[in-house]
């Protein structure tokens, strides 16, 4: 069972209280973008074994969106952070580096 601390209300919420929102930090390509960029924005998702960044919503709690960094292989949670950022904060990256030295995820690492 996955348990994430919602950074908006502070609650330790188990998976049944949360709604998964898919991969985090997607760069949006909208009208005017190339077909390749738009296709990639719509459909291309990473599916890593290891460090992963996701969006979650505290659906049965405060209702707010947030970000989570976790390991898909072990379910270890590195941390949760605000939805209002476009990349993982340094504090979260440091926590991951302490546990998974040399990690990479898309352009981050």
């Amino acid at each position: 069972m996955l348990i994430l601390q919602c950074p908006c209300c502070g609650v330790m919420a188990d998976e049944t209280e949360l709604a998964a929102g898919g991969e985090a930090h997607l760069k949006r390509f909208g009208p005017g973008s190339s077909d390749d960029d738009f296709e990639s924005y719509l459909f291309n998702r990473v599916n890593p074994k290891g460090v992963h960044f996701e969006r979650w919503r505290h659906a049965y709690g405060c209702g707010k969106w947030f970000h989570a960094a976790r390991c898909t292989a072990t379910l270890e949670v590195f941390g949760t952070y605000s939805a209002q950022v476009t990349e993982p904060p340094q504090e979260i990256r440091d926590k991951i580096s302490a546990r998974r030295p040399g990690w990479r995820w898309r352009e981050f690492g």
């Binding site: 209300c9 502070g10 919420a13 049944t16 209280e17 049965y60 709690g61 405060c62 209702g63």
Partner: protein
């Protein structure tokens, strides 16, 4: 004018804990910037209690303020005073970006009481309800089995639960099963 009736008309059940639908309770949703002096004034004047911090419920009899999310509090007041309370709040909030809505009749309220009340709720919600983890004064929005609900404690052995009116019978049935005779777990 017709008389307002609560969802289950004060249905009650006694098993390893006492379950009761509490009847009519005034409930007003207030959304806005909870750090705004105007919003705080509207909320505290309506309820006659202090502003709740994150995760808190400030309850005084039929009045109270429950923290629902970073931009929402639930104002409790007697059912008959809702219209008057909303009018007063809207006056305070004039010009402020905020929302005040009467949700009293969209909800149902239950009380679960007795020495085993924590056990009855623990079977239904993914929440640590150990006495040191969940105490009177705290507020929790979560789910009871399959439906959203919120609760706080009136005292160390009494929970007040709010759910949507449309699932009132479901929640009452859940609570009855969870509180059936002989179902003590003895975990707390």
């Amino acid at each position: 004018m017709s008389d307002p009736v609560s969802a289950l008309n004060r249905a009650a059940f006694t098993g390893i804990a006492q379950i009761a639908e509490t009847g009519l309770q005034g409930m007003i949703t207030l959304r806005g910037d909870l750090a705004s002096a105007v919003v705080i004034k509207a909320a505290t004047a309506a309820a006659g209690t202090d502003m709740p911090a994150r995760g808190e419920a400030k309850i005084k009899g039929e009045h109270g303020l429950c923290w629902m999310s970073p931009d929402e509090v639930l104002v409790l007041c007697p059912h008959a005073e809702v219209a008057m309370t909303i009018a007063a709040m809207e006056q305070v909030l004039a010009g402020e970006h905020a929302l005040v809505v009467n949700v009293s009749d969209a909800r149902a309220v239950f009380r679960v009481s007795g020495p085993l009340a924590r056990e009855v709720l623990s079977k239904l919600a993914p929440v640590d309800l150990a006495p040191q983890a969940f105490r009177p004064g705290m507020m929790r929005r979560t789910k009871l089995a399959q439906v959203p609900a919120a609760f706080w404690m009136e005292d160390d052995r009494t929970f007040r639960i709010v759910c949507f009116r449309s699932v009132a019978q479901y929640v009452f049935d859940l609570l009855k099963v969870s509180a059936q005779e002989g179902s003590e777990v003895g975990v707390f």
